[in-house]
Symmetry: C2
Subunit: 457 residues, 2 copies
């Protein structure tokens, strides 16, 4: 099988694409701790979650055992227009690195939202529509998630209000314009449309806003609006489930061409991309049937896996969500202002956290100038301008390929290219002109973050 000619783009026909999501929890010997209700500190029940999320999503969130979950036909139709995403053999990168390694990347940026976020946005909008809701609210920082959800809501016919961190909406007017083109209402946050927004503005009229504040405004609006829910683009188990499309397509193509990956690499912020990429692969590792290595790459400026604590924490800085057991820097942690791009969440998906704690996943942190160096090198030979987030995975893939050059090993490396960098050019400009800097949190910075962790038990 390994002698088969491997094309540069590993195509899948429509009947070879996945019709099911892959629920990695069915392959895990030990599960992550349950979410706790922040008032009672008891495990959350469906009844606790259903006022916040669609019923079907709650069901998915709490389903630890069904390995394959059917993608509804109406959603599959949508996926068929945008997927499979390209799986590309990085022949030119291999050549540039003079490495015996084989490098593949799964390119999730080839849709207008520019990232993998659309996979879960479409699923969440689909279920909202199917359950009779008429609108959704969400928050967005850099804008990838807001864009993806605006596309999904336009497609499924739902109204959407996006609370966008005010400073980001000013810095990225084109992100705002894309979201509005898809018909969503964009509100720079904090705003005077909510109690929490008005209260914040009263105290600090000139604030540029924060993700925590935008989340609070989006939740308040959803609770006050009939047939409306608040939706989230990462961290949660059902989001990882939807993102398993990424890994499923890789697995189908690899099996078609007789390829076995030795190393699978993903960038990690909230963990949705990494979780989706590794979901159908890591079961064999857990069961001792493969030695594949799984590597999470996070920014050195927001190092939840490599320097965080494995503890119960709130999902938001406003301390309103259920408590999640995860690797976290504390909900009060804020990355240094010089940090470009996403991957700035204080915590990490409970699934990824558990797999990491149990030793199935490795983690490493990279500084951003090295990440942009890798991004630029990749762009020049592979012709794709990567998002800063994705470039963390590129950096690790290059490092592993260089090790292969040194040892002579012909390893097969797969990494997730989560998105494109068209809306991140200001960061590229600062890298190009040499003004980009690195700043790693001191131990004192981390202690301040940990101080925000809830005291439990």
């Amino acid at each position: 099988m390994n002698e088969k000619h491997i094309p540069t783009r590993l195509s899948l026909s429509e009947d070879e694409t996945p019709k099911f999501w892959y629920n990695v929890r069915a392959d895990m010997k030990a599960q992550h701790e349950p979410f706790l209700h922040p008032g009672t500190l008891k495990p959350c029940t469906p009844a606790d979650l259903e006022p916040v999320f669609c019923k079907e999503l709650v069901k998915q969130e709490l389903d630890f055992s069904t390995r394959l979950i059917k993608i509804p036909d109406g959603l599959l139709d949508f996926y068929r227009a945008t997927r499979p995403s390209p799986l590309i053999r990085a022949r030119f990168l291999e050549k540039a690195l003079n490495t015996p390694a084989e490098i593949y990347y799964k390119h999730e940026g080839n849709n207008t939202s520019g990232s993998h976020k659309l996979n879960s946005a479409a699923a969440q909008a689909y279920y909202a529509k199917a359950e009779g809701l008429t609108s959704l609210t969400t928050e967005t920082g850099a804008g990838q998630w807001g864009t993806a959800l605006s596309m999904a809501c336009a497609f499924f016919g739902l109204d959407l209000t996006v609370y966008m961190v005010k400073v980001s909406s000013i810095q990225k007017p084109y992100r705002k314009a894309v979201i509005e083109t898809f018909g969503a209402k964009l509100v720079p946050s904090p705003s005077d449309t909510t109690d929490v927004g008005r209260s914040i503005l009263k105290n600090d009229p000139d604030t540029g806003g924060s993700l925590g504040c935008a989340i609070s405004e989006a939740i308040e609006t959803s609770v006050k609006t009939d047939k409306c829910r608040y939706v989230l683009g990462s961290v949660l188990d059902h989001v990882l489930l939807h993102q398993s499309l990424i890994g499923q397509e890789c697995k189908a193509a690899f099996e078609k061409y007789g390829i076995k990956p030795d190393i699978i690499i993903g960038c990690a912020g909230g963990g949705s991309n990494l979780g989706g990429l590794i979901s159908p692969f890591i079961g064999d590792k857990i069961n001792g049937k493969s030695n594949t290595r799984f590597i999470a790459v996070e920014p050195a400026s927001c190092p939840s896996l490599t320097r965080g604590r494995f503890a119960y924490d709130f999902g938001d800085t406003g301390k309103t969500t259920p408590l999640l057991k995860m690797y976290t820097l504390g909900n009060g942690f804020i990355p240094s202002a010089n940090h470009a791009g996403g991957l700035r969440y204080h915590g990490m998906s409970p699934i990824i956290s558990k797999l990491y704690d149990d030793g199935y996943i490795e983690a490493r942190a990279e500084i951003q100038t090295e990440v942009f160096k890798a991004a630029t090198a990749f762009a020049k030979v592979e012709g794709i301008l990567p998002a800063p987030e994705s470039s963390h995975a590129i950096k690790a893939a290059i490092d592993e390929a260089v090790k292969c050059r040194e040892t002579g090993e012909k390893k097969t490396i797969l990494f997730g290219l989560t998105g494109t960098g068209y809306f991140d050019m200001s960061a590229y400009m600062s890298y190009n002109d040499g003004t980009m800097s690195d700043k790693i949190p001191t131990d004192e910075d981390l202690e301040r973050g940990f101080a925000s962790l809830p005291k439990i038990g």
Copy 2:
């Protein structure tokens, strides 16, 4: 064959993709008039053209008879990483229009340059490298061509200087940043790096520049630089030849699934995309074997086919190029300042002009608010944010599909989606907020343009 299930994305495997370009001139019963040397008014010889273009490109430019021209292996490797581009059945647009028509679009925007321009940029850079050149120069207005060429030069290892219209480099700093990320030198034009630039600046220090001026600076620099050539991204026959990849892939996929197009639609500025799209299809029309309709869609603000003259004209406003027999508004014509997006060239590819004059191609002109209306409707259902240029083709495709709804005819429509609109959001913003306006040149405006036509014979 027609009963075969047609997937939403019509995939091609690597061995089904074209290995040859399709030279449409081999199918034409009558050829366009030869280029004339501007000094002697005699047909240009290879010796006239070789100081300006690579030898192989000159050979392609003057080859009217070889139907299939082999794509060199080194270039095919590059194409394999970025192509085939998606060919998508617009099921959601069909549904939204409630039309019996089948609509397909060829999506050329799924690469970092964001458009089909990369197809010819890669070819031109490949030959430059193969012939021992070390650098290229070009001009760019909106930036698509400059981006594509910067990617191609990074890949093939050539230095590149891009003269970008100064006002555009200021309005689109992110385009500039992308071009620089790929290692090209970007010079806002007019500049003090050339005689012509210094002369223009002396007369008008505050000028925002023009495409004509940027072309002149790029040509001057290339002539003065050792092992350097100037390259062009549209209009010329060899550019259309490279773009025939677009049509070849459509034809291969259509034959695979037993689809016969009734109408093929492309936007038309210089004509490279339209020419590439129709190249392998129009021969059957010329030979009476098919009734397929071919429709060129141009902006009403720059209507070279629908309101221009079929005459010899210069390719540039500086009147330095050979004379081309084409539909033209006159090299002195400048579209109204409120015109957004590309498709602002005064002339039209000689091949397209000839096919149009001989009655094989129809043409229509559209106003930009209607074009953006079509773009927005398309984006909402198909999930792709189109470039303003491409949206001219969308507008015509929608109109044709609506006609089918009225007549009940089940026609098969193919249109070229040349690119994405990520760098055109300011135009979308003006459409979204209702400030976008339409302005069609008056007969007097056109007469002023025609006055710039050279007096010949």
